[in-house]
């Protein structure tokens, strides 16, 4: 990084919008950082000698003669082992009262991994939650969000998964976290005695929203340090990516870009993919796994944010309250882990794929029976059995409070099959029926 002997200072801002200001300046690099009246800002557009800066904390009160100082470099993070156990803000400055990090300074949002240098993910992450391990197994190097309405306990489930995942480091990127949620994460990690392997970059609801845009890159730069330099298994938690996307749309709208669907920028897909694709399995054992949260509004997954996310991530875990059993479950219909093929029936018991599919098929039959019931029709004897099965399946396997091993999950499923159905109705390969039917 070039350091400049003489920093150039400008004091004449031509145009100010809610998130940006534009001034005449020369020899400025694209994406360079600057301070506008002491507030961090970044170059987002250069046309001739007009430079537009995005001011992260907003432009309220900025005067046209405010001091603008260019830093001569893009945003960076100092990386080192001392990051572990620490809490930072979106700029990577400590917020836990501890000392500043002394380490190698790295640009955030660095280059992509050459795809041929990646390794195919194949290491199972066991969470004990059957809605995940049985139906949507996770592997290291995967990227997957929870899709949940704002009233679902997504942060709790995510913290639980993180703590059970046997990661060397857990990096939390909090965007628009309420103070309560921030304290929740702090407490739960502390109580689990895991604080020494946690690093947090947090933007709370009290902080300016545009600052959030730096959080995932900070978290992922730290993750790359541990995964590449230290060959560690790193788990990155990003919550809430919907608030991140909202910040993107604030900036792009302020810059008069033509919005596409749901007033999101046309580049939303690329913007999100750039982050999620940082998930990787390296050949030497290091990995970055990303578990994110995308909050929905009224369960609508066709909104541009969950929609683009679903097209990028390797599946999604859909949280839903099952009113019948009064518990939150991982919905088997809307949830999916695309990397499960790489491990199920290979790292887990041979009958795993077939059992998983059969149970979901029968659960779908139950959903049809419920529709019939709602429309006031009589149920067949088979319909009734599917409803009984669905209730037990939901309670014993789908609920997020389940915590058992995968083999036990498979056995539980076989027990439920035998209790409610005949082998022909379950329709799995005969060799498995002969071996596992209870």
């Amino acid at each position: 990084m070039e350091t400049k002997a003489l920093q150039r200072i400008y004091t004449k801002i031509g145009q100010i919008t809610k998130a940006t200001c534009t001034l005449k300046a020369t020899d400025v690099g694209y994406e360079e950082l600057a301070l506008v009246d002491g507030r961090p800002a970044q170059v987002v557009k250069i046309v001739g000698d007009n430079v537009t800066l995005q001011v992260f904390s907003g432009t309220e009160g900025i005067r046209t003669n405010a001091e603008v100082v260019f830093a001569g470099k893009p945003p960076t993070l100092k990386v080192g082992d001392e990051l572990a156990g620490r809490f930072f803000n979106a700029y990577g400055d400590p917020i836990d009262g501890g000392p500043k990090i002394e380490g190698e300074e790295r640009d955030i949002g660095g280059p992509s991994v050459n795809p041929v240098r990646r390794k195919q993910p194949s290491e199972l992450i066991a969470t004990g939650i059957a809605g995940i391990d049985l139906n949507n197994s996770l592997v290291t190097g995967q990227k997957i969000p929870f899709f949940a309405d704002p009233d679902q306990p997504f942060n709790q489930v995510m913290a639980m998964v993180a703590l059970r995942a046997e990661a060397d480091k857990i990096i939390l990127g909090g965007m628009g976290l309420t103070n309560d949620d921030y304290l929740f994460f702090k407490d739960i990690f502390e109580n689990a005695g895991a604080l020494h392997r946690i690093i947090s970059f947090v933007n709370t609801t009290e902080d300016p929203p545009v600052e959030r845009l730096l959080v995932p890159d900070m978290a992922l730069t730290a993750a790359e340090y541990f995964a590449v330099d230290k060959k560690e298994k790193v788990l990155v938690l990003l919550t809430d990516m919907t608030l991140y996307a909202d910040a993107l749309s604030i900036v792009s709208n302020r810059m008069d870009q033509i919005p596409s669907k749901d007033s999101m920028p046309g580049s939303l897909y690329s913007d999100l993919a750039r982050l999620y694709e940082k998930a990787v399995q390296f050949a030497d054992g290091g990995s970055i796994t990303i578990i994110a949260v995308t909050t929905l509004s009224g369960g609508d997954i066709t909104h541009a944010i969950p929609d683009n996310t679903g097209y990028i991530t390797e599946g999604q875990l859909f949280l839903r309250r099952d009113t019948e059993i009064g518990k939150v479950i991982i919905d088997p219909f809307r949830s999916l882990s695309r990397l499960k093929q790489l491990v199920i029936g290979k790292k887990t018991r041979e009958d795993h794929p077939q059992v998983m599919n059969a149970a979901i098929r029968l659960y779908a039959d139950a959903a049809n029976a419920r529709t019939k019931l709602e429309n006031g029709f009589d149920l067949t004897e088979y319909d009734k059995r599917t409803l009984d099965f669905a209730k037990a399946y939901s309670d014993k396997l789908l609920a997020i409070d389940v915590n058992i091993g995968t083999t036990e999950m498979l056995d539980t499923a076989w027990t439920l099959f035998a209790k409610h159905f005949s082998p022909a109705e379950v329709a799995v390969k005969k060799e498995f029926v002969e071996k596992y039917w209870k």
Binding site: D27, K45, P115, T302, E314, R334, I360, A364, T371
Partner: protein
């Protein structure tokens, strides 16, 4: 642009006044350049930044300014940086050694790049300049040739790689001399041609071609008429794709587009497979990199990778190169088609390409069309699909490019610009349905909305009758009918209730369920079920129709479902067993016994 004489030069490094310019504006990957001198629309230029050369393409010219899209990150770029124009459009090198390679969207060899991370401005050679190939001449001195004619051939992974008269050469030429059989690198002269003015042109095994132009080195392009077997039942039996045909797979996220395309890429009866991973997940291409060198081509027994080229421009790679990736892939496909091969090209996902166009058009503040896509999107899409096709080459031989793209419609809604534009440009429509995917009925192709227009072609019906059976088209139409009637029956049952309709409604519904469960649904991850050869498909169709046509007797609707569930279970077990195996025969036998027991007498 480039004159025919330099058709073989690796790059036109003509020293005469190269145009230069200076960067004057930067908006993400759109850079505005103040140019001194002439330049062309779509010309390639390099922006020199801290000693690194960043490749870019002119996408608009306006009053001495070039608007260029940069194929790299523009971080740190400063106004005033030097820009060097190259005098040519985006070109790629074509020659032996394209197969079994992993490229990025600009055909940089990913394997020869250094380090774990992609470095900005690092470009690697498409072809291996050192490797020697066993050349056999096909032409002889005195022959009259035109662009695309075969001068010789080399063996590339067991595939005859023809060395052709460069596509860029216009007019007729006489072969003056041709190299003897022997070993040559791709840069050695293998033939000298003379044009009508007596001017000599030396030809090597490498030629360059601008990717956005279609290669037209063929005599004519008839309507396709031959089935291209994929082993996917819902395609081959119900909605066949043909050699030289076009199709697309739209569907919401997670509905199975990629799994479907990968199944086709592994199983299809093609000589060459070109896969463009365009703006999708890196882990998906890693899956190809890992599996293809191990898996066997079911048609030749060689490794799949030997017939495959993978072009990976994943979603985190530069957006502008995403657009280039599909064109690079199509150019390679055209190159192999001109050698008389059956090429299958797959692109996942063409929506990402359209989005790259949208991002650029928005940055240039162009007047937006529907959903902010560029106005000319439909034209761009249809021009692209039009490059596929079955052709008769000038030497009378045939070649084909079958092209299937996926489309990722926003919100899963098929009434959006990319889906609509693609629907007009293609003949096969494989619509993946969220509902079917949710209930794990894979492949989730909607059996009623999907279609293959080729089924209506008399020339295809004729070849199907010859290759399968004279009844085939009739049987296929019956199956489609069974699905439609089954859906109607299900609706009636849902409206009126199980016991308020006659048993016939239940039978109609369950007959469609048999077809659905046994023919349409197919487990892409089961070693046996994943690929069903055409003859086995025919066998199962005959069997299903036999069961469906046997009049059965039931005492009440309650008996219908258990009976058909068992039938379906047995048929599924057959699908999981090797064709004709003992288990296969046993299930068939049990099945037919059940049917006979139920057969209505009289």
């Amino acid at each position: 642009m480039a004159s025919p004489l330099e058709a073989n030069e690796s790059m036109s490094t003509t020293t005469e006044n190269i145009t230069t310019g200076k960067v004057s504006g930067i908006i993400a990957n759109l850079v505005i350049v103040q140019v001194e001198g002439p330049f062309a629309q779509n010309e390639i230029c390099y922006i020199v930044h801290n000693g690194v050369r960043l490749m870019a393409e002119v996408i608009k010219a306006s009053g001495g300014l070039a608007y260029v899209q940069v194929f790299e990150s523009t971080r740190g770029l400063r106004p005033g940086s030097t820009v060097e124009f190259t005098g040519h459009m985006l070109e790629v090198s074509l020659g032996p050694g394209l197969l079994s390679r992993n490229y990025d969207g600009l055909l940089n060899n990913l394997d020869t790049m250094s380090g774990v991370f992609l470095k900005r401005g690092e470009y690697t050679d498409t072809l291996d300049a050192k490797k020697k190939w066993d050349f056999e001449p096909l032409a002889k001195p005195g022959d009259t040739v035109i662009a695309g004619d075969w001068l010789g051939e080399v063996d590339e992974n067991g595939i005859a790689h023809r060395i052709m008269v460069p596509f860029k050469l216009e007019g007729q030429f006489t072969v003056k001399s041709i190299a003897e059989a022997g070993q040559y690198t791709t840069n050695e002269t293998i033939a000298m041609l003379v044009d009508k003015n007596g001017e000599q042109i030396s030809v090597t095994m490498t030629q360059r071609w601008p990717v956005k132009k279609a290669v037209k080195a063929y005599r004519n392009k008839p309507r396709p008429f031959k089935l291209l077997e994929t082993g996917v039942r819902i395609i081959d039996t119900l909605n066949p794709i043909v050699e030289g045909g076009t199709g697309f797979i739209p569907g919401p996220f997670g509905s199975g587009k990629t799994v479907m395309q990968q199944a086709i890429s592994k199983q299809a009866e093609a000589d060459i497979v070109i896969m463009a991973a365009c703006g999708e997940r890196a882990n998906e291409v890693v899956e190809l990199f890992t599996e293809f060198p191990e898996l066997d081509d079911p048609w030749t027994g060689r490794k799949l990778m030997e017939r495959t080229t993978i072009i990976a421009n994943t979603s985190n790679m530069p957006v502008a190169a995403r657009e280039a990736s599909v064109y690079s892939a199509m150019t390679i496909a055209e190159y192999y088609r001109s050698m008389g091969h059956k090429v299958l090209m797959l692109a996942d996902s063409t929506s990402r390409w359209a989005q790259a166009l949208r991002e650029m058009s928005n940055r240039m503040e162009e007047l937006p069309g529907p959903d902010a896509f560029p106005m000319d999107l439909p034209a761009i899409v249809s021009n692209f699909y039009a490059r596929a096709g079955y052709v008769y080459l000038n030497n009378g031989k045939t070649g084909s490019i079958t092209f299937i793209g996926t489309v990722s419609p926003a919100g899963g809604n098929l009434k959006e610009p990319v889906t609509e534009a693609t629907k007009k440009a293609t003949r096969c429509f494989y619509a993946l349905s969220q509902q079917r995917a949710d209930s794990k009925r894979y492949p989730a192709i909607d059996p009623i909305d999907s279609y293959s227009k080729y089924l209506e072609y008399p020339e295809l019906q004729k070849t199907l009758a010859e290759a399968i059976s004279p009844e085939w088209t009739g049987q296929v139409n019956r199956l489609k009918n069974i699905m439609i009637r089954g859906k109607e029956a299900a609706e009636q049952i849902n409206i009126l209730g199980d016991d308020s309709v006659s048993v016939d409604y239940h039978l109609t519904f369950w007959k469609s369920e048999i077809v659905d469960a046994v023919l349409l649904q197919q487990d892409a991850f089961d070693a046996i079920d994943a690929r069903t050869p055409l003859q086995r498909q025919r066998y199962m169709v005959d069997l299903l129709l036999e069961i469906i046509d046997t009049p059965l007797h039931f005492d009440g609707f309650e008996e219908v479902q258990p009976f058909y569930k068992t039938i379906i279970d047995k048929l599924r077990q057959m699908n999981y067993s090797p064709h004709g195996s003992e288990a296969f025969q046993r299930y068939r036998h049990e099945l037919m016994e059940m049917v006979t027991e139920r057969t209505a007498v009289g």
